[in-house]
């Protein structure tokens, strides 16, 4: 079976005004199958947002290939891009700016159906009502404006709009990062329900490892434009193979004082280098506690270790968890 999303050697460089280009994404490969949710995690500037923008053609790839439901995104003309966007929809981070403040939420949710000529008039109103119900809102909300809703409700509206076209692929870019904890749980529950009720593939982009673990089947970790580890959820969280993945997991503060204080403290030293001047060899070597001379010279190749794919010269030397 063909994957819903296939990203192959994706490269996105942004030209800088002065100096070398910013290498936002530098050779990223993964696929997402039907009904599967892939988490894409990493810190700010690692390129995870650029990957999702490239998938729907909001930024142009410099190299590599992206296929959504078999259609190549790179070099797609306007018509094809519009087709692709019918298959792949996005939920953004900030619900406050994801909705046009001068448009009723009914019009916002119905817009994909209306502009594509899929529904109008009474039928459109009914489809909008059904979508509102599906995300836990009421049909009579359709005539209200975004400012009349709370943050969590707005994110529900954004999800309803993304579902309007019954997409094959849903991209969620930090969908719960702007929400308070109590509201975040509501949206995560909704998301898990939707995973079960829709046969969609999902790419879930987030910096929050606990959230990613909660909703994803497989997880890809990015650092400085590179994919450094890709593994099924349980493998990644129980036996992380890449030193960066381990450091990231160690750095997440667990909301449990006993657990958190018992954790070994191995904070990463230093700062993330500039993506305009990434280090030679393995991009992580400047902060890696395990780095050896070899790491500074040679970019590590992709290797399979059990179910995990990892790019690290010393991946086998994983310390026992």
């Amino acid at each position: 079976m063909n994957p819903v999303l296939a990203v192959d050697g994706l490269v996105v460089h942004f030209p800088a005004r002065h100096g070398p280009p910013v290498r936002a994404v530098d050779g990223v490969t993964f696929t997402v199958a039907e009904r599967e949710t892939l988490g894409l995690v990493g810190e700010s500037g690692c390129g995870k947002t650029t990957v999702s923008n490239a998938i729907v053609g909001l930024v142009q790839p410099t190299g590599g290939e992206v296929r959504v439901a078999g259609m190549p995104v790179r070099g797609a003309d306007r018509r094809t891009l519009r087709e692709i966007r019918a298959k792949a929809q996005i939920v953004f981070q900030d619900p406050a700016t994801s909705l046009n403040p001068r448009m009723t939420i009914g019009a916002a949710i119905g817009e994909p159906l209306l502009v594509r000529g899929l529904a109008r008039g009474r039928e459109l109103r009914e489809r909008v009502a059904a979508l509102l119900t599906e995300v836990g809102l009421r049909p009579e909300h359709a005539s209200r404006y975004p400012h009349q809703f709370s943050g969590g409700q707005r994110q529900r509206i954004v999800i309803a709009r993304a579902l309007a076209l019954r997409p094959a692929l849903l991209l969620c870019v930090e969908p719960v990062s702007a929400l308070d904890v109590s509201v975040r749980a509501q949206i995560l529950n909704l998301f898990v329900e939707l995973q079960q009720s829709h046969a969609m593939a999902c790419l879930f982009v987030s910096h929050d490892l606990a959230v990613v673990r909660h909703v994803c089947d497989r997880v890809a970790v990015m650092y400085l434009g590179h994919l450094i580890e890709l593994a099924p959820r349980d493998a990644l969280y129980t036996t992380p193979r890449h030193p960066y993945t381990r450091a990231l997991l160690a750095a997440v503060p667990e909301p449990d004082p006993a657990l958190q204080r018992a954790k070994p403290r191995v904070p990463l030293q230093g700062e993330i280098p500039s993506p305009a001047a990434p280090p030679q060899g393995c991009v992580f070597h400047t902060r890696c506690p395990m780095a050896i001379a070899h790491c500074r010279e040679e970019v590590p190749a992709w290797r399979h270790l059990g179910e995990t794919i990892v790019a690290c010269h010393r991946a086998e030397e994983t310390p026992a968890p």
């Binding site: 966007r85 929809q89 953004f92 502009v115």
Partner: protein, 278 residues
């Protein structure tokens, strides 16, 4: 300066409504024909009564025309020029700004360079030069003011469009499959209209001042038709003996511009959340 609807802003709107009302109804409410000269009644002070011609509440000018009627008629010229020139420049300026902000690239470079060029010639001088070349007339006045002021709106529309265009809801509209015209008209324009209205309001006041200034210099509304600027220009020669010819039209001019500026400021504060909190 709070942005709430206060009695003060109500008074301003009321006063502006009176101006508009007077300007529209000018031909029917003037007590005298503003062009009729009664040479026997030259330079009479306010509250002059003539048994043959009646009351001259604001006095008469240097050729014996009723000043009140001329001032009322002048309101018409003033507000017409303001409204028409602002409409022309608002419309053209916004279109250019929207297009430049949305398509960016070379369109933006060319448009914004033209904006810089036009704005490099101070507006009064540009207007003076153009009117002088084309000859003064009402139509030329509108044309000149409209053509010299559109870059103001373009700058604002451009900056605002650039800003709004990066927002997720615009991305979402693209993802929905909306084409550029729909995105521009349904999603961007309503969200940049506020700042543009603020500019339009201040520009309206400025255009009224420009019209008066050009008419004062003899480059605007041509005699014998009255404009506040030209009445004052005539009055300047008699300022020592007939103060009313400069004082009354000046007060009217000052009053309307002040109201418009206060309105603009109120609109600005209303739109700018920064002005409210903290």
């Amino acid at each position: 300066m709070t942005g709430r609807f206060t009695p003060g802003i109500a008074a301003i709107l009321g006063l502006l409504a009176i101006y508009v009302f007077v300007a529209v109804l000018a031909p029917w409410i003037v007590p005298h024909n503003p062009l009729r000269q009664i040479l026997l009644l030259r330079l009479r002070p306010p509250l002059t009564y003539s048994p043959s011609a009646g009351w001259f509440l604001l006095g008469t000018d240097d050729v014996g025309r009723d000043l009140l009627s001329r001032v009322v008629d002048g309101a018409r010229a003033s507000l017409m020029v303001g409204a028409l020139s602002v409409s022309v420049s608002l419309l053209s300026g916004t279109v250019f700004g929207l297009l430049a902000g949305w398509f960016r690239g070379w369109i933006a470079i060319v448009v914004m360079r033209i904006v810089d060029i036009v704005l490099s010639i101070p507006a009064i001088l540009l207007a003076v030069l153009t009117v002088a070349v084309l000859g003064p007339s009402f139509a030329n006045l509108i044309l000149v003011l409209g053509l010299t002021r559109w870059p103001r709106y373009t700058r604002v529309a451009y900056a605002q469009t650039l800003q709004v265009a990066t927002l997720p809801y615009i991305r979402a509209a693209e993802m929905a499959g909306a084409h550029a015209p729909r995105i521009l008209l349904r999603h961007i324009l309503p969200n940049i209209a506020g700042p543009l209205m603020v500019v339009a309001t201040t520009e309206f006041g400025l255009m009224i001042l420009f019209e008066a200034g050009l008419s004062f210099l003899g480059l605007g509304i041509q005699p014998p038709y009255p404009s506040w600027g030209s009445i004052m220009s005539e009055g300047q020669n008699y300022v020592a003996s007939a103060w009313w010819m400069t004082v009354f039209p000046g007060i009217c001019l000052f009053g309307v511009v002040l109201c418009v500026n206060l309105l603009g400021d109120w609109l600005r504060d209303r739109l700018d959340p920064r002005a409210q909190s903290r």
